[in-house]
Symmetry: C2
Subunit: 222 residues, 2 copies
């Protein structure tokens, strides 16, 4: 019974996600779903990405959290529109929440929406939000063994950001093993070493994202 219920919830979510996706394409907006554990550095990675790309694209952010509005305030302090979603206990964002948040934004004025999902390596990976790409962050202090334990999120992500890379010397993180396991789960997925709070490694990641945005714009314009 429980599996049937889950299937019905996912099917309802997928339907709204497909409608979101059509809406985003019609307005030429690229949507990124950024997923990670609590404290992996989602907000600081978003701020670093904004700094790298704001002269090239008009950006807005949708912040997903169980509670609080601290992340949306951090983003707005940089002059970027931000919508806070409080899930009130739910462990992930769903496509209907994104639709309500998007309805408060001027899509014609935007090129890129970054969605910060709830801090969680499990549930967000199951839910299509209508995004163009799912990307995940793993932070070095979490350890190189995480792909063994949370394989699904590594499989659905189109890029992996390895954040807090500057703390590699402090933790016992085997980067070679990490890259091997990630590759075994998800072929040629790129891994970007980043220190978001220091701005290091952001250019390579932002360059990949810009490439995806420009490619989607060409497809949408056809």
């Amino acid at each position: 019974m429980k599996v049937d219920i889950e299937k019905r919830i996912l099917a309802a979510n997928d339907e709204i996600a497909a409608s979101n996706r059509a809406l985003f394409a019609a307005h030429g907006v690229f949507v990124l779903d950024l997923m990670a554990s609590p404290g992996a550095g989602k907000t600081s990675t978003i701020l670093a990405t904004i700094a790298a790309l704001r002269n090239r694209y008009a950006i807005a952010v949708i912040e997903g959290d169980i509670a609080s509005k601290v992340d949306a305030e951090k983003v707005r302090a940089h002059g970027i529109p931000a919508v806070q979603i409080n899930t009130g206990g739910a462990c992930h964002l769903e496509s209907a929440m994104i639709r309500r948040a998007v309805d408060t934004l001027d899509l014609d004025a935007l090129d890129l929406i970054i969605i910060e999902n709830v801090g969680n390596l499990v549930c967000p990976s199951d839910f299509d939000l209508g995004e163009n790409a799912k990307v995940m962050i793993l932070s070095v202090p979490e350890g190189h063994d995480k792909p063994y334990k949370y394989p699904n999120i590594f499989q659905v992500s189109e890029a992996v950001i390895l954040n807090k890379y500057d703390t590699m010397g402090v933790f016992d993180f085997d980067e070679e093993e990490f890259r091997d396991v990630v590759r075994s789960l998800n072929g040629q997925v790129p891994v970007f070493p980043v220190s978001a709070t220091k701005g290091e490694g952001v250019d390579a990641w932002a360059g990949w994202l810009a490439g995806r945005i420009d490619a989607a714009k060409e497809t949408d314009a056809r």
Copy 2:
């Protein structure tokens, strides 16, 4: 409708949890449900706790993970019985999973079972497993703002372990603000600074746990 379904799932879980709790009391076994984000150091905290308490109590571990059996193998390498539960995608343990795992253990020969829940600051806090106490770990690299974003897990925990305390100098962690917010959410809950991999701070935490185990034994024996 979704809320009703969630209520039914939680009610079914609570019923088995109550039965687990009676079983544990009948056998004089104390059960700890340890919750944390991925990579906060659950397994290393368990190993440090075992080292501190194994001469005093007979201990077994139940390891919960989406996939893999690496944690159970780490525990068994120290000569401690360990049962691995793979949830196959589910973001938390449930009381029925614990019952099946417990059925493989000799309860009369045990004083303490430590359950390592799935790495997640959200879902595990909603599910009673029949444990004597829920305890959570926050690790310093995750940041001092986490109680704002994940209040429920701080509210249901009877102790908070602040792990990777030795990296306090590397990260911008405001311990005073952290303790203030935790106190506002959960009165006099103790916060134990620990560096599990170095064994630092473990005595205070293990002392608290031993106090709880001994108190429960007295109650069970009445």
